[in-house]
């Protein structure tokens, strides 16, 4: 697709393109977030077993799902980047990792805050929980590796390799509930044929999932643009951009 472009122009083109896409993602993420959160917190009915503590689900589940989603994105991007030698794909990997890590952290933390009232402990060594913790470690490893390289082209490639190697953990996370008997809930919403959840509860959850996904997209694009700027900072167009922004600041102040 990019073949007809001048090799140096790819990055600049993707920079502008992603800049154009960003507002759209934000336009989805923000309203859905507000609607979903108000609906979930105030309007959805309380669970007959868990009472109002179940409202944590509206961040817990989207965060957990998108944590895995982010990793899958990274794995695909890493594969593309390494096989077809596309540097932009490697940048995507680096751009996504911190967001995935934050989502994973949120899933873990909200899970813990939910577990205390439900199971009576902040933490148990349950398969689902443990595998989520491992996912967090994998994310942190990728981020640390990326930051440790000073040459960001090499850093991107190293992070991509590690991402692919880390894929072995994905099936373990996914099947952990099947393999071990566990305290944690099995699939409830992903059984599409017969969702075992009241629609009143389900709809805000779906809205929140959309919101989290759109926000993921927005942040990936933002960070992706950062990566491009950082790596291309010896190119005339970046320097023009910098000089432009600093002069506009001067005008204002």
């Amino acid at each position: 697709m990019w073949k007809w472009l001048h090799p140096y122009a790819k990055a600049e083109k993707s920079y502008t393109l992603s800049g154009k896409l960003m507002p759209w993602f934000l336009a989805v993420a923000l309203p859905t977030f507000i609607v979903g959160m108000i609906w979930g917190l105030a309007f959805a009915p309380a669970d007959y077993q868990q009472g109002d503590s179940f409202r944590i689900i509206y961040i817990h589940v989207p965060a957990a799902m998108m944590a895995m989603g982010a990793y899958s994105t990274m794995a695909i991007a890493a594969f593309i980047g390494l096989v077809w030698q596309i540097r932009l794909a490697e940048m995507t990997v680096a751009a996504t990792a911190p967001i995935g890590a934050v989502y994973t952290f949120i899933a873990l933390f909200t899970g813990a805050a939910w577990g205390k009232p439900m199971w009576g402990a902040w933490w148990v060594w349950d398969a689902r929980l443990t595998s989520e913790l491992i996912l967090l470690f994998v994310y942190l490893g990728i981020i640390a590796l990326y930051n440790a390289f000073s040459d960001k082209v090499l850093a991107g490639r190293a992070a991509s390799i590690l991402t692919l190697v880390g894929v072995i953990n994905l099936p373990i996370i996914h099947f952990s509930v099947v393999w071990w008997n566990t305290l944690h809930q099995g699939a409830t919403i992903t059984k599409f044929d017969q969702p075992s959840m009241a629609t009143d509860m389900l709809i805000p959850l779906l809205i929140m999932i959309v919101s989290f996904a759109a926000f993921l997209g927005f942040m990936v694009l933002y960070r992706f643009r950062n990566e491009i700027l950082q790596r291309e900072s010896h190119r005339p167009w970046v320097i023009a951009l910098v000089q432009q922004s600093s002069s506009s600041v001067n005008k204002r102040g």
């Binding site: 010896h234 005339p236 320097i239």
Partner: protein, 212 residues
Amino acid sequence: MFQCKNLTCVREERVLFNNLNFTLAPGEILQVEGPNGVGKTSLFRLLVGLSTPYSGEVHWQQQNIMLDRDSYYQNMLYLGHKSGVKPELTALENLHYFHHLFNPKVKFDAWEILTLVGLAGYENVPTAQLSAGQQRRVALARMWFSDCPLWILDEPFTAIDKNGVQVIEKLLIKHAEKGGMVILTTHQDLLLPPQLYKKLTLQKPAAGEQYV
């Protein structure tokens, strides 16, 4: 035939050189010159395929070296700033290892070669216990039994004494006479007669070329 086509090197956001071109034919010696930090080592690491250029290609016998590393490496000997000698092994063991890994088909007598590089009597001392110059000599010994036509030497004379430098220069001439090629850097003046070698002087990019 060794060709360097439109090579551009960018390190940490700085352009070191831009669109570098040169060709080396059999029998030629090329000295790459330039002040500290101009990019000689960076260039050499591109030439041997240890790092990937920002743009441009290096060709060996009309073939991009990145596409066929093995056949390139069968014909190329690189000695860098780091010597690649294992300090806990003796000089003899190091040579044997190099021989088996790089030039398994060449017949050679390790003791003889160690004598030639001035290490007679030190054959069985762990390399870590040799002096800086002696350690360097163990690495340089590879030139004495290499059958590769292309030698790429990054400051081969560091830590070598005067007599040693002369001996190595003679070896380079002999190699070129047999149809080999040599690319080297050094901050000392070569003692070779000027008609025997070409020079390539790297310079800091001019103001207009700082950004690509």
